[in-house]
Amino acid sequence: MTKGLSTVNVAALTLGFAFLYLPIVILVLYSFNDSQLVTVWGGFSTRWYVSLLHNEQLLEAAWVTVRLGLLSATVATVLGTLAAVTLTRMGRFRGRTLFSGMVYAPLVMPEVITGLSMLLLFVAIGLDRGFLTVTIAHVTFSMCFVAVVVQSRLVSFDRSLEEAAMDLGCPPFRTFFVVTLPIILPAVVSGWMLAFTLSIDDLVISQFTTGPGATTLPMRIYSSVRLGVKPEINAVCSILIGLVTIGVIAASIATKRAENERLKAERAAAAGR
């Protein structure tokens, strides 16, 4: 057994990380490119970030995306949590498997089909396509992700906690808010974050269900790339990457800290008995 890093290991690691991160690094580097041409290095500059601030179209699209993400993730979290609670709580009945399978179907459904079917629905009921229809579509496909995350937490939830609350005089509805929800909150929050992320970077379904005045950032980026990549796009993407990275790091630090604190407390309790 050899310890440390052998040449092969180092090579494998480098290749692996290069495979994962090289495209991103290049994108970020070129966002600071002074040249008009995306592929030719013309010196360091932040001019594309500045010009981004004046690109009304991109800013507008970004604003639409954020609003859409916040709104659809929130609605999807409420609906997905309800679905998860119902699925875990209701007893066995005929067709239960089919029912729970149907909630998860959008997980594996090709986006094109989801998008197309939503489009057909909106056309059929005569709903004008716009911000409302994209939001509905995003809620539809992201709520099942929330349901999966929340349900996996609920399965290990000790129901005697709810019984204890009711036994102490708390009606069922209030019990959900003062006992169940606080305990499953981490799962609900990660469900929300998942839904938000999914909504932010969705292109296909948005493309099908959107209408005038509701162009999202991915759609704007995609359509401008078809006309040729502008360094501005690199700048937008770099900002997005930065935001996501900060979010992920913050979340993992918070989780780690909570875990450490819990362990420390438990050790203290074990020592103090």
Partner: protein, 389 residues
């Protein structure tokens, strides 16, 4: 960190407490022909049971005997399939758990992990909408009662098992329920702590003057804490009596066997004997004479004679001449417990093993009984009970 309330003269109260013997006493809790079915499975089968105010009542039985279901019907988590449950004369049918004046201490303790000890204890009081100052007062009082004042702001996961158990107890009694239900309350504690806590529970019950209903599969626990015990099996009550009666007067082979150690000899009634009734034991074929029970079984009836190990005598030398029931055998095995020694004696001319125990009243013996010794085992006619069920 034992909970030791000031010693009070509880003896006289305990000794004279027997409302179940008083025909004019009105029970607090009544189960009337209660049946509970889960699909095809009958968890509780036509049970009628009265529990009196201030009683410490134990439901005892193996897992799956329906004891927990019976308790959950009182708490309101299950509705009876048929029959009635009343509390203080009021039918509980259709009353949800959060309106019932009973509180439960859960087997898993079910402490709210996101709340501090204080908030856990205050939870029930808050639901009643009591003023804040009164809640704070009651919480302090409860934490003092279970000796956890200095742990008020801790979270449940920062407590040891014994401390959690006490928080659960404080939370359940904080609302001063009419009945406190305890579902295997001490199951998660180690033996020493469990014994201590049993006595604490009894003192707490006397102090608060509440009615306690405990569910347990641990017969020692039931015997220690309860005023009366209901032994259950397959959803039915087998015997309801005081711990002493359950132990000394079991009404069936099941109860005799479930509670403590016992020898059961299958026999046939042979007729009248010198001490009441003469029995012909089947294996080994030997006559014994026993005190006749009130309902004397007919001659030739199949019965079982049950005798506890400590009600028998054992010696190498022959017993005194007036000893009536003498059996001979060989020491098969010896278990030394310190306070007691238990001898397994293989009876002569049979494979039957009798368990005989002897108190180790002295530290040394001149001629101790050892393995393979030929011994005499004897007992008085009234030392055992005759079982027909």
């Amino acid at each position: 960190m034992a909970l030791k309330p000031a010693q009070k003269a509880l003896g006289p109260i305990r000794r004279s407490f027997a409302p179940w013997l008083d025909p004019s006493a009105v029970p607090l809790i009544r189960f009337e022909n209660v049946t509970k079915r889960f699909g095809d499975f009958v968890a509780v089968d036509d049970i009628s049971l009265d529990i009196h105010q201030r009683e410490f009542f134990a439901l005892l039985g193996p897992s799956g005997c329906g004891k927990t279901t019976l308790m959950r019907m009182l708490a309101g988590f299950e509705e009876p399939t048929s029959g009635r449950v009343t509390l203080g004369g009021k039918d509980l049918a259709g009353m949800p758990p959060y309106r019932r004046p009973v509180n439960m201490m859960f087997q898993s303790y079910a402490l709210f992990p996101h709340m501090s000890v204080e908030q856990n204890v205050a939870f029930g009081l808050k639901q009643d909408g009591l003023p804040k100052t009164e809640i704070a007062e009651r919480v302090t009082e409860m934490l003092k009662l279970v000796k956890l004042e200095s742990f008020a702001s801790r979270k449940p996961h920062q407590l040891s098992g014994g401390q959690r158990q006490r928080v659960a107890l404080a939370r359940a009694v904080a609302k001063r329920p009419k009945v406190l239900l305890l579902d295997e309350p001490l199951g998660a504690l180690d033996k020493k702590l469990r014994e201590e806590t049993q006595f604490e529970l009894m003192d707490l019950q006397m102090e608060l003057g509440l009615t306690f209903l405990i569910v347990t599969h641990d017969q020692e626990e039931a015997m220690t804490v309860a005023d009366r015990i209901a032994v259950m099996n397959h959803g039915k009550l087998v015997q309801v009596a005081t711990p002493g009666d359950i132990y000394e007067q079991p009404n069936s082979r099941y109860v005799a066997d479930f509670i403590g150690d016992i020898n059961i000899l299958e026999a046939k009634v042979a007729g009248a004997g010198p001490a009441g009734l003469s029995l012909a034991v089947k294996d080994p074929a030997a006559p014994i004479t026993v005190a006749a029970p009130e309902a004397r079984p007919a001659d030739g009836a199949e019965v079982a004679f049950a005798i506890r190990p400590e009600k028998m005598r054992i010696a190498i030398e022959p017993p005194p001449a007036d000893a009536v029931n003498v059996l001979k055998g060989e020491v098969w095995d010896i278990a030394y417990f310190g306070d007691w020694t238990k001898f397994l004696v293989k009876l002569e001319g049979s494979d039957t093993i009798m368990r005989v125990s002897r108190a180790n009243a002295t530290r040394t013996e001149s001629a101790p009984i050892a393995w393979d010794d030929k011994v005499h085992v004897w007992f008085a006619p009234d030392a055992g009970v005759l079982l027909t069920a």
